[in-house]
Amino acid sequence: MSATLSTTMSAVTVISPETNEDVQTVVCAYEQIVVRGGGTKPALCTAGDGATVLDTRRLTGIVEYEPGEFVFTARAGTPLREIADALAAYGQYLPFDPPLVQEGATLGGTVAAGLSGSGRHRYGGVRDFLIGVRFVDGQGRLVRGGGKVVKNAAGFDLPKLLVGSIGRLGVIVEASFKVFPQPPRYATLRVSQPSLDAALAAITRLNGSTFDIEALDLLIEAGAPVLYVRQGGLATTLEERQQSLRIWLGVGTPLRETDEAEFWAAARAFSWAPADWSLVKTPITLNTIPVLEQILQASGAQRRYLAGGALVWIAWPGELAQLHVYLTQLQLSGLVLRGETQWPFVGARTGASLAARVKRVLDPTNRFPIL
């Protein structure tokens, strides 16, 4: 077969299949497999001794993209950067705003990790835009779910099942997405808050308002909460809309246009998070923030709350075991993207028994790590 095989210094073998058939062959040939795309979320794709890394980066390329249809299909190892560029040429974008685009994240890795960024605030996350998927399960079967049209109710929703499956139910080899027209222009208001309570009250008001907000992040800057409110739309009306928002909020300083894009790009790159700290995705709700914030502050963690309080990225300086204890107490769950851990989940977990049933069907011999 045409896959390339290379062996690194350690006992880990890396195989880079080029075709779906290659992937099927590899899956059948090895007993322990860890799937890796761009490797931007190392905690999700680091292989232990004896495991084989299935590198998806040669499964690359956009298979189908008809701009007028606002739908594309690409192979799993295609870098998000390539997809974002192709879409941008027609004024389109991935509305769920995936992170680590410039760092080399792949389409398949983003689906498998189930990651969306600040921009998911407006229209939803990766689960809401994935419409079809093709994957090779742990028995080497090539399976397809969903389709290539924006609305489709045929069969079980396998695409959603694969979102967040971190390569442990199968190897995603191809994915289809719906996309949207990108707002031609953006503007962001920086709103300093006197206290956390005030910040949360402002988020609550905004969440219930009729303002169309692209992103709404809460940062802690020099110990003080600051909101970043991003709007997008036609250049002719954006200034007026930002002005209305500012009046409604009572405060706010617009970011300069050049800084604006830079600010959100930095968010996507996690450049605020110290590189040698653990990085954890934690779904939350607004009412959990006060308690969580106390813990994170006391622990010296860096953090960034996204999407109007739906999600927090935690940069954690210490042992993940401690974070696990805290999150479990709060009945929150987390996914470790970077950091020393054998098991990428921290905190509470729901649906584990159903996940286990699914795992027994798709990967009965645990070729992929347990889920």
């Binding site: 008809e66 701009p67 229209y123 069969g155 959603k160 099942l161 979102v163 779904p283 769950s333 699914v358």
Partner: protein
């Protein structure tokens, strides 16, 4: 099927007025909105609590007797058709909104809550529940979850699956699971999303956490008339390609226009071959600017006339005509079949031209009322079941339309689901391996295949097809098929 052991156990758990066994009592449960199918269950349980549903499922599991959970029975694909001699678990009495949290913008509801009641409960807080199937006055959230229901406003905010954050469910073998949660985000496989749209094969949702949206500040609605159906279809492709993102984009053809006009006097132009409704929503300033752009695109698409809704009353009238069109068309004919298929949006014009041609070939009238922005077709095939051979011709025509959807790269169903109706088309959508994996997943949750047995998979047993006319509620205009 040996049900006497199960029935006697059920009799110990449920009072006789909530365990229906007489044919006359069970008649309303023998069919759903796909009236061509009919089957008589052994008993119908009117459950009132989650505990009762769990108990009923566990008993069915222990006795290996199939069950079908049912809300208002508005499924258009026969999704809530009983299994002959099986059990029906009616969920309409589990109709409490358990919690409404306006700050978090969520509602936690039981499966028997009616779709529109969620929006009604949320309205005082300026919020609403987005998925709006045309049967929203009567259909339940439990059914919406099972079939991932859509509606006219899916274009921007998606279908039911995109609005369910978490749920509690009893699996067919009696295990109760909690999936997802109250956050918009999750970690691990999206099991909530996997459950939604499983057509009742994965068990029964007992509590559903729904996402609510703030009502838009402003709507702007335009009605454009065209000389041909293909012209309206091409206009949709142009609007989509223009970079605008309408909240809804709907098409009606001449037959539908005529029927809707006769029924509700929506003020539609009567001499048009097709009508396109496009609606923008959002912040006023933005919507006004986009609307000007939309009108330029529409003007450029060669319409006969363009009418802009002046106020809320105008808008309401336009939508009333649209939402009543199905039942109105239904009145033109003794019987009709509704199809639900999807084509790529750029090929709508082509698809509509093909449907017109097929209509002539089969010598049956076809009305079209559908969610054009999603490429989701709903051709309505008119026939008279009393004329020998007409039902079969209508079925053949419906099948050819579905084949066309597949050939154009679309789907055999956009929002009605596979149910009983589309099972034979699954093989055209999926490979043997795909179907095998889906069947294995189903058996992992339901080893005895007791939950909604016979649906979705192509090899299920089906009762004979016959023509029974329209659903009584449909005749009254309460529900409609789209």
């Amino acid at each position: 099927m040996e049900t006497s052991g199960l029935i006697s156990e059920l009799e110990r758990c449920f009072p006789p007025d909530r365990l229906l066994q007489r044919p006359a009592q069970m008649a309303p449960y023998e069919s759903d909105a796909l009236t061509a199918f009919r089957a008589r269950p052994a008993a119908v349980i009117l459950a009132e609590t989650q505990a009762e549903v769990i108990q009923a499922v566990r008993l069915c599991h222990r006795h290996a007797i199939p069950f079908v959970a049912r809300g208002s029975g508005t499924s258009l694909s026969g999704g809530s058709l009983p299994v002959e001699e099986g059990i029906v678990i009616a969920l309409n009495r589990l109709n409490r909104v358990l919690r409404l949290d306006p700050a978090q913008r969520i509602a936690v509801v039981e499966p028997g809550v009616i779709n529109l009641d969620v929006s009604r409960a949320a309205a005082p807080h300026g919020l609403y529940y987005a998925p709006d199937p045309s049967s929203q006055l009567i259909c339940t959230i439990g059914g919406n979850v099972a079939f991932n229901s859509g509606g006219a406003h899916c274009l921007k905010y998606g279908m039911t699956a995109n609005h369910v954050l978490g749920l509690k469910a009893v699996l067919p073998d009696g295990e109760v699971v909690q999936l997802g949660g109250e956050s918009l985000e999750s970690v691990g496989p999206d099991l909530t999303g996997f459950f939604v749209g499983s057509e009742g094969l994965f068990g029964v949702a007992l509590e559903i956490i729904l996402r609510l949206l703030p009502k838009p500040e402003c709507y702007r609605t335009v009605l454009a008339a065209y000389d041909s159906l293909a012209g309206a279809g091409d206009a949709v492709a142009q609007v989509v390609a223009s970079g605008l993102l309408p909240g809804a984009m709907e098409i009606m053809d001449a037959l539908a226009i005529e029927a809707a006009e006769a029924a509700v006097h929506a003020g539609y132009p009567r001499d048009a071959a097709a009508l396109l409704i496009v609606e923008l929503e959002g912040e006023r300033v933005q919507v006004e600017a986009e609307f000007a752009h939309l009108l330029r695109v529409i003007e450029g698409s060669g319409p006969k006339t363009v009418t802009v809704a002046k106020d809320d009353a105008d808008r309401a009238r336009i939508w009333k005509g649209r939402k009543s069109a199905f039942s109105a068309v239904g009145r033109l004919s003794p019987d009709y079949l509704v199809q639900d298929g999807v084509v790529p949006r750029s090929r709508l014009g082509e698809a509509l031209a093909t449907i017109e041609r097929l209509s002539r070939t089969h010598n049956l009238r076809v009305a079209n009322v559908f969610h054009a922005g999603d490429g989701n077709l709903h051709p309505l095939i008119l026939f008279n079941g009393r004329v020998a051979g007409e039902l079969e011709r209508a079925e053949a025509l419906a099948g050819e339309i579905i084949q066309m959807c597949i050939a154009l790269g679309g789907s055999v169903t956009g929002e009605h689901g596979i149910g009983m109706e589309k099972r034979q088309h699954m093989r055209a959508m999926f490979t043997t391996t795909d179907l095998e994996v889906m069947a294995e997943l189903r058996r992992a949750l339901d080893p005895g295949e007791i939950s909604n047995r016979g649906k979705m998979f192509p090899d299920g047993e089906a009762p004979a097809l016959s023509s029974h006319g329209v659903h009584p509620l449909e005749r009254q205009g309460v529900i409609s098929r789209e």
